[in-house]
Symmetry: C2
Subunit: 109 residues, 2 copies
């Protein structure tokens, strides 16, 4: 069958692979290797999203993110819950850049 | 203020930036520069997700994706709708790799 080959992957396909790699870099550290425990989530947030989340690295923030993401309340964040977090952050980031884009006047309504 | 600096961005932050860059590479081609028209969506799907979507490059597939994503029915896909598509594809891709991971037996329940 045809497979995904990172050698000829597009920019967007690379982005998707980077999300998958990042999740599994942390999810495999303890417990279920396909989900993030609270400790693994904290490590991921601190080490991978420090530039975005900045000051939100305290314990309460991790509890809040875990509570928001863990839709089935099992104390673990699975990959689809992780993708929702990354998606929400990316939308927020994109909104920020559009908001401060000096070329915004060119937008056609 | 502190800004996002791609020089010291993490892997995950790079992935987020790649998603934003990819969207705007196509959204600026015609009409509203912050949304994808049907033509822009087709170009993006064909050129950026060819390895993933493979044979689904016909007109009906683009209509279907547009219909599914365009939640406010304005005939345009905005960035948050695009992120939902990429997220869903990434989850599907991750499921595929987990399913075929020979190391799956190591999973703790």
């Amino acid at each position: 069958m045809s497979t995904l080959n990172s050698e000829n992957a597009t920019t967007l396909e690379n982005a998707m692979q980077l999300m998958i790699q990042t999740f599994h870099k942390y999810s495999g550290n303890e417990g279920d290797k396909y989900t993030l425990s609270k400790t693994e989530l904290k490590d991921l947030l601190t080490q991978e999203l420090g530039n975005y989340l900045g000051h939100a690295q305290d314990k309460d923030a991790v509890e809040k993110v875990m509570g928001d993401l863990d839709s089935n309340n099992d104390g673990e964040v699975d990959f689809s819950e992780f993708v929702i977090l990354v998606g929400a952050l990316t939308v927020a980031c994109n909104d920020f850049f559009q908001e401060y884009n000096p070329d915004k006047g060119g937008k056609k309504e």
